[in-house]
Amino acid sequence: MAELTYRTAVAHGIAQEMRRDPNLVMLGEDIAGAGGVFKTTVGLLDEFGPYRIRDTPISEQAILGAAMGAAMTGVPVIAEIMFSDFIAVCFDLLANEMAKARYMTGGQMSVPVVVRTANGGGSRFGAQHSQSVENWVMMIPGLKVVAPSTPVDVVGLMAAAIRDPDPVVFFEHKSLMADKGEVPDGEIVDQLGVAKVVREGTDCTIVALALMVPRALQAAEQLAERGISAEVVDVRSLVPLDTRTILGSVSKTSRLFTVEENPRLCGWGAEIASIVADELFWDLDGPVVRITTPHIPLPAAEALEDMAIPSVDRIVHTVSDRMG
């Protein structure tokens, strides 16, 4: 058992898989010599060499294109897009190429690519380096989407994503990089499409993702002091989506709150709210409530950014108000 930071867990997970599969390669901007701008790939160049850990130009389309082409011929590839905001620069490759290749070719093509990218706010970087864009890719048929909240989940879901034969977008949260957690020794392989109940409760269910998970847990702690027993579910994987765990929790608590860092419109919580409304309507004791970043570009100033992204306080107040 070792205590790792979230950022070290990224390299740990990649290294575990690179030792297992000598064909696995990775490419991206500043990932080799520099060890990544978030230091998530430190040590990989030394261990695996310059042919497996490759620096690229600032050419996001070329990065994802090279990853897809190699993957089509059976070489598994990890591609890093430095900030998730930059997905917009190479969206064609994600949305129109990787995602559709298998279906469009009648099953001839397989694209085992993991696109890793640093997501989310809290770094005061302003509107073009801070967004939480998991909903951008969740809406595309043919892409799997994961966003771990702890170091051990980073390692396990990284392995699961790399071993998956379909394209997976792997969101690493910038504001979780320094968080520490226990990671067991030996090989860790998790499963895509499995949510986790990370705190049990009986009065309401709070569903959260990535940075919102520790905030939901802290909020649950404070809600307990107010006499509200909140169950917290870490969604972990948006596609596939573990609706069984979410529906199971809501059928027990009869109330659902989502905590989403993505801007409000078409955020992932809307899909979950719709599923719960459709399938558990008569079990609900009150409306489904979404706690989200408002529908605005993210501001840079510390004070404003903190107002925009759901905080522990906002979760506590919203839940206790709406629970009446």
């Binding site: 294109g65 090279a66 070489v75 009648g106 043919g142």
Partner: protein, 357 residues
């Protein structure tokens, strides 16, 4: 304020000065290409021509739905490259990919069936005309949003480089593609990684409905950009299959030997409009006529006669191809329309499309 289109003072491009082809180079009769290979190249050009004509007839019968982009007049490029490639090499094409798919050896029946949206189509009816793919023939796909596929072609080339297989990737695109960002990203990337890839611009003078020279900073949209990436400017007569074949052999061997990528611009002409919906009336009549005189197939036919091949041999090739195209038509028309059991398959590797449990 000025721009080329405005300066011309007209948007009826058919009134512009025609862009005429250069003269045929008869010296190419003497290229060292064995006659057997030339007969194969002839046969392939015949197949591409007759297939595309059949596809057009089937549009008129309303059997081909959606859109389709024919390569009539451009057959020499796909045939010349197709024969210069090794069976395990990789091909990438745009939405105008029927010819490139057939030139790699995919059977015409399933290709035509795909155009007709049938279950026996090469993509089971799920891709259609613009996405023809045959992985078993090294045809790694037709990409209908131009540009990205140049970057994907880098990926198969990178894979071959890593695996040490000496396979070469050949990526085709039109003149219009040279003005999209991915073209430039892909070229720079291929050069810095020394990738075994050949980029082939089929310059047919029109970006869809607009003359390419009006919207491109340089006269030769691909060749004039090559220098920016440290590559040689290579122009070839895209209506002379032997000229194409010779250049293709050279650049493919160069890539196979680990000497890196090439960019080739093949000058050719689209005999018809951009797609099914386009009669191509924006082209000066004199231009259409001049290029018709340089039609690659009669030109190649004449060359083979000059080289002593009896007319009877060529007409029997033509008839044999006609029979194959008839058979392909019957195969395609005989296919059933895909049933609902196909709608939800092949999104994921497990064969299904489930996104939740």
């Amino acid at each position: 304020m000025t721009d080329r289109q405005a300066d011309e003072g007209l948007y009826d491009y058919a009134l512009r000065e025609p862009r005429l082809p250069g003269p045929e180079n008869r010296e190419n009769d003497r290229l060292e290409i064995p006659i057997e290979e030339r007969l194969h190249i002839y046969e392939t050009q015949q197949l591409l021509r007759q297939f595309e004509k059949r596809a057009y007839d089937l549009f008129l019968q309303n059997l081909v739905k959606g859109t389709s982009h024919l390569s009539l007049g451009m057959e020499a490029v796909s045939a010349g490259f197709g024969h210069a490639m090794r069976p395990d090499d990789y091909t990438f094409a745009t939405y105008r990919g029927h010819a490139h798919t057939l030139a790699r050896g995919a059977a015409p029946g399933p290709v035509l069936a795909e155009l007709l949206g049938r279950e026996n189509g090469i993509l089971k009816g799920k891709g259609g005309s613009m996405h023809l793919t045959s992985v078993e023939h090294g045809m790694m796909g037709s990409y209908a949003i131009i540009g990205a596929h140049l970057t994907i072609a880098n990926g198969t080339a990178w894979s071959a480089q890593m695996r040490g297989t000496d396979q070469v990737t050949v990526c085709f695109f039109g003149d219009g593609t040279t003005n999209i960002g991915a073209f430039h990203e892909a070229l720079n990337f291929a050069v810095i990684w020394d990738l075994p890839v050949v980029f082939v611009c089929e310059n047919n003078l029109y970006m869809e409905y607009t003359p390419i020279d009006l919207i491109t900073a340089v006269p030769n949209p691909a060749a004039d950009r090559a220098g920016a990436y440290g590559l040689d400017a290579i122009l070839v007569d895209g209506n002379d299959a032997d000229a194409v074949y010779q250049v293709a052999k050279r650049v493919i061997e160069r890539a196979r030997a680990g000497q890196g990528p090439s960019l080739v611009e093949a000058q050719t002409y689209r005999e018809q409009g951009h797609s099914r919906a386009d009669p191509g009336k924006y082209r000066p009549p004199a231009e259409i006529e001049a290029w018709k005189q340089r039609d690659p197939i009669p030109m190649y036919h004449e060359r083979l006669l000059r080289l002593g091949v009896p007319e009877g041999d060529l007409s029997s090739i033509q008839q044999d191809v006609a029979r194959r195209v008839d058979e392909a038509t019957e195969f395609a028309k005989g296919g059933s329309h895909p049933g609902p059991e196909h709608l939800m398959t092949d999104v994921w590797a497990d064969g299904g499309s489930a996104w939740r449990n």
